[in-house]
Amino acid sequence: MSRKISMKQAINEALDLEMRRDPTVIVMGEDIVGGTGAHGEADAWGGVLGVTKGLHAKHGDRLMDTPLSESAYIGAAIGAAACGLRPVAELMFMDFMGVCFDQIFNQAAKFRYMFGGKAETPVVIRGMVGAGFRAAAQHSQMLTPLFTHIPGLKVVCPSNAYDAKGLLIQAIRDNDPVIFCEHKNLYGMECEVPAESYAIPFGEANVLRDGDDVTIVSYGLTVHRAMAAADALARERVEAEVIDLRTLSPIDWDSIVESVERTGRLVVVDEAHPRCNLATDIAAYVGQHAFGALKAGVQMVTAPHTPVPFAPSLEDLYVPSAEAIAAAALRTLAPTGTTPRSIAA
């Protein structure tokens, strides 16, 4: 049966169901149980934001708190994966990747290739991404382009609870290393989610809205801003097609190109920094493979080339807004040399 739950609950449920189904699934991370070795309550935290709350009671020692030691336990998760377990390691904030990235990009990502196709490393590394949480420069980044750059990694960034559950189940069942990016500002957002297990295959974008005038491609939190922009555009009689990538590596090039071939206009929205990100990647791909279909230059709406600021007044300017997305869409529709209208989204 289906009911409304939050993305946080959906992730918890995916972990719970997969741990029940497969005894080789273990979950580790800093404070994912909370209070290990301390004298207070057991299962005190269930993760810093409570994503894994209650799982320890159900699965005991298969949920493991770790020392604050990302290199060691992320590496251990990768080593255990190469030895037949299916570990899910929580990196808390994906920004902490800096201290353990070697284990991910030089070890996990390369084992299969370096060892001539004889290794499988079914590890999932999940962590929070994204700005808007007043968490400042080292706890707010959208580092997805760093991961999509690395062959051997799969990169996932769901925009809603339904996708989060199905994509995480797929990530756990997947035989390759997966970086699972959870936008912290989506944790509370609810939608209809089946109680049963289901896996969403990687590499299939989700078309959230049909439209023939302009294609808007995004992932994660900004998908919702793109939808708000599309609503605003619809009031102006501009029908936008909104594509949620869901997985960034592999990426569903076909859906993007098919849509652009119909609309002739493309806006790419990425919360990552503007240089060499998903927006530039997609813009370049479409420029190379669907140039003839384009009726206007591709518009990119991204975060600025700055760290994430702390002051709420500044941070609110940082993440691409619905207004900026709608304005970009209108720019693709404006005749060359004219100034497009602006609308409130």
Partner: protein, 327 residues
Amino acid sequence: MTENPFPLSKDDLLRAYRTMRTIREFEERLHVDFAKGDIPGFVHLYAGEEACATGIMMHLNDNDRIASTHRGHGHCIAKGVDVHAMMAEIYGRSTGACRGKGGSMHIADLSKGMMGANGILGAGAPLICGAALAAKVRGDRGVGITFVGDGASNQGTFLESLNLAAVWNLPVVFVVENNGYAESTAMEWAVSCDSYVDRATGFGMPGVTVDGTDFFAVHEAAGEIIRRAREGGGPALLECNMVRFYGHFEGDAQTYRAKGEVEALRASRDCLVMLGERVIEAGVIARAELQAIDGEVAALIEDAVRAAKAAPLPAAGDLLTDVYVAY
């Protein structure tokens, strides 16, 4: 023949000698062929250090995992990786252990519990913690051994792994192969502690230092801490003091070493010679038996080189395969 005074059977002694001789022959041959320009890239040779890998690996089975270093040929051979496949890999051939996609620094054979040589110093330590965790979760009494040089013993990954293994009580043995040099930099200068035993103690685990050129010393010390780990006693650190017969990599002029240093080490601390003399002196094995092994090993290595040179190169299409299981 007199009574065997060693804690190993004659067969095991012959096996140990054969392993050490194979490593030596393999590395000496690479030294020659590399200088001729036959081998692409670069290689780091284990010659002089054979007693360490062999003394430890004799306690392991295929279910036990090891994580190696950039200087990994000896670990591979001692862990049972096929010599022909290794040679072909180093020659970049499609018949190589990694189909020519790994090379000297990435030889692996997971079926033998060999989780890979590693080009990143200290990177094997967290991985072997994971291997040991998998063994612990499965309850299969497997152990994990990670090798690290004195240089990489300063890496955060290694130090964090000591802590993690102790906190999780993992069946891991951390082997520091102390050959005195981190590339060209002296261990005495680069490692801040006086003894690796102190370092182990600081992480709440026992530490043992042995003469890594003495096969019997390594075998005995390793046996005890591996047994302890296997029985749930937790991790330990084993420091093997050893000598490097060649440079950090082939082509290293070794100007940082004192004049005559290597010659003196070869004359006085050649672990292979030492093992041979011990077993002959004790009357357990005849010199002729060892010479027979020397001949067989020489033929094996010769055949491995011949086969590697004759083997096909990887096909152009192999460039794009084996990035993912499925993508």
